[in-house]
Each structure stands twice: as C-alpha cells, then as structure tokens.
Amino acid sequence: MKLVTAIIKPFRLDEVKDALKDLGVQGLTVSEVQGFGRQRGHTEVYRGAEYEVDFVPKVRIEILVDDADAERITERVVEAARTGKIGDGKAWVIPVESVVRVRTGEAGPDAL
C-alpha cells in the first residue's frame, strides 16, 4: 500500500477529483494548506503599511492506493492538476505498512 500526496492549486481540485473517479478511485482526503515556493505571494496594504505575504493557498490531496496503482494514479493526478504555470505543486509517494477501514476493521487493499 502507498500513500500518494499531492499539493495542487485549489481550483484544480474538481478536475483531479473527477480524473480519479474515472480511474476508479473510491476515496480521498483533502485539506487546505499554504504553500511557499517559486511562485511568489502577494503584497497587502493597510493604511499605507505594506507587507508581503509569502504563502499561497494550496490544496493537499491524500490517496491511499494499492501498490500496483500508485504510479498510474500519481501520473493522473499530476496531469489533471497541471496548468503549466509556476506553482502547480508537487506529488509524492510514501510507503504504507497497513491500512484499516474504521467501520469494518477490514485491512489491506480491502480497506480502500
């Protein structure tokens, strides 16, 4: 089992989700994060006091997958999230030792 994590632009989330549904992925977990990277942030001004905000809103997607699917799914996520502009994000794969479905206690691939 693997955990595929991707940091993407928030407005690409729908595309990524749809692409994964098409691949037969049954579940995923999403959270709001702030990214710092090559893409620059923005300036804000309040009563003449300017300041720089380095962080850019991003979305983190986590998908537990069967070992065999990890590569294909990562590729699909990357494709669906890509805009080609700086700040598109990263995707990475981590090994998972065990997975359980809370509801049933099923473990391994059955838990997905």
Partner: protein
Amino acid sequence: MDGELIKSISEGDTAWVIVAAALVMLMTPGLALFYGGMVRTKNVLGMLMQNFFSLGLVTVLWVAVGYSLAFGGTNDFIGNFDFAWLHDVAAPAGGKFVGMAPPGFGALTIPPMVFMAYQMMFAVITPALITGAIADRMRFTAWVWLLGLWAILVYSPVAHWVFSPEGWLFKRGALDFAGGTVVHVNAGIAALAAILVLGRRRGWPKHAMPPHSLPLTLIGTGILWFGWFGFNAGSALGANGLAAQAFVNTTVAAATAMLGWLIFEKLRTGHATTLGAASGAVAGLVAITPCAGFVGGMAPVAIGFLAGAICYFAVSLKFRFGYDDSLDVVGVHLVGGLLGSLLLGLFADAAVNEAGKDGVFFGGGWSLLGEQAIAVAATIVFSFVVTYLICVVLKAVLPGGIRVSEEDEETGLDLTQHEERAYATDLV
C-alpha cells in the same frame, strides 16, 4: 430661479424626514453587506468597496449638479443648474435656513435642504444596486467611471421625469411613490445592460459559487428592511397618516413576499432557505416601493405575495437565457420594480392619498395602468441604451478595459483591485 421660498416648516415633519434620510443612507452599507455575504471570500471587499464608494462619489456629484439636474427647472426632460452646488437650497430666511423648494414642491413643510439630502440617499443607492449583477469581475476603475457617469446621465434624468412635478412622466400621470421606476426598474435594467457588455464570470454556470457568509447577508437584510421604512414612509415627506400607511404597506409587503418566496421554494425544492427568506423580503420591499403611499387595505398582502412568488421564478431566468446576473439584480429589482409599478395600476386607491389615483380595482379604469406601462417602458429603453453605451465606451477607452484579467478574476478582486484580504484569521 424656479422654486418658491418655503415658509411653514413643521418640526415634526422635519424630524421624520431627517431620520428617513439617515435611514436611507444606512441602506447602502446594508446593501453592501447583503451582497457582500453572497459573493465568494476572495471578492468580498470588491463588493463592499463598490457600494461604499457610491456614498463617496455620488454624494459629491449630487450636491454639485445631480440634484439640480433632477429637481431644478421646469423642463419636461431634464432639470437645470439652478440648484447646482446647492445654490439657493439653503437660503437663510430669518436665520431659519429655509431655502428654495424645487419647482412643484411648494407645499413642502420641511426645509428644502432636508428634501435635497433625502433625495441624495436615493441617488447614492440606486447605482449601488447594479453592483450585485456585475459582481466579481469589473475593474474598480471601470466601476468608478460607470458609477459617476450613470449617476449624472441616467439617474438624474429619470428622477426628473418621474419624481419632479415638472417631469414628463409625472405630468402624464405616472405614479411612483418611492422609486419603483426611478430606482428599481432603472437600476435593474442598467444591470442587465452592464452584464451584457461585461460577460459572464469565469466558470459560470458550471462552477458552484455559494455565498461565503449568509449571516452577513442577513445582517444586510435586516438593515435594508429597517432602512426601507425611511425609503418608503419617508417619501410622505411628513410625519402623518400617509407615512403610517406607507410604513405598514412596506412591512406587510416584505412579510408576504417572504412567505410567497418560501412557499414556492418549499414546494419546488423541499426546503425553505434563509437566502430565500431574505430574497423574498427584498423582492417585496422592491415591489411595494412605487405603491407604498398609494394603496391601502390588504393590497400590500397581494402585492408582496406576488412579488415573492414571481421573483422566485424570475431569478432562474438567467440560467435559461444565459446572462450572468451574479446576485439577481434583474430577477429581483427589475422584475420586482416592474411588477410593483404595474400592479399599482390595479391597486391604486385615491382614498389613501389625495395626490394619488384610482387603479383598475378601484374604479379608475385602465388609464393609470397605461401610464405606468409607459413610464416603465420609457425608463427601460432609456436606461438600457444609455447604460449599454456607457459600458461600451468605457470598455473601448479605458486602458485595461472594464473587466479584470482572467488571472485576476481567479485571484479575486480583493487582492488584485484593493491589495487587501477580507479575513486574515489564519495563523500563517
């Protein structure tokens, strides 16, 4: 100099109309919140700013020339510059500061300065109504120009036609107690013209764009309902039985419109929504506006209920016809204003107001309805055409056009137009 010097001021009437002016002033921030709650987080400030800015710009234009163009002189189609820069509006008369009434308003029992201030607040909020339609995509600079030009080129003339006793529609006999035509039809059709030039929001209607804060919208609704008592009952220009009647008609129509909207919503979708309650109430307030001082009895029950029900269906028209009226200015203000102005042709009752007329249901025949139709038609044509032209010209001449770039639209108006964020509650 056309007006006449006001002599008999009633302190009670003055007290009420001053308060009414303050109440109508509050409606613009109220509208800002009503709309601001409905947009997405990234565009909240853009929305609030467009509304507050009207308090800034239109106030100045109004004292400069707007008031005079609306209420000066005896021309049928447009005022003059007699009252420009408030000349003669506050003429010291024995230290009492009375001033010159606008032509045809000789019977005023309030200082003309109060009348001017009261009307100012109408001029401020009317273009602000348009912001609901163009939400999320107009450049702020473009709005500044549209706002200023519209206030002078569209609002003042239409106000003159309908509100000034010297205006051609007034003289023909059209009735508009507090601005069904001048304010709501006028702004509603202008909103349509503006969005036809501006185009749709990116992603609409495919992407969901849910309101970011309905509590904000409901604060706005409460303020609008409250302020509308100034709008409608204040238009009696005195603290009397007519004001009372207008007050009651106003709140009753808002209430029944809320019920009307919610009933049909419940029937269609299975739920009565909070936004529906707010929208219904506003639709009722819009529709009763032209009627408030001309109808009595249970007329507001009918007018309100119809407004709620019909506007509920009207807000879906945009999906059918494909124009992106972000926050339903057309569906609520144009349709509601039209409805109220025309229903007045049916429900008007001269017994309520000596200055009014009888509509179809009170033995007045079809003539009033005809005049109402002419008034709204004239307003629709004029306002649509002039607004459309203003937008087309601005689009052509403004460097950067009238619309934000794709990327800026994605990022949102708050950061790109104002370098601010509405909420900085994050830790990061």
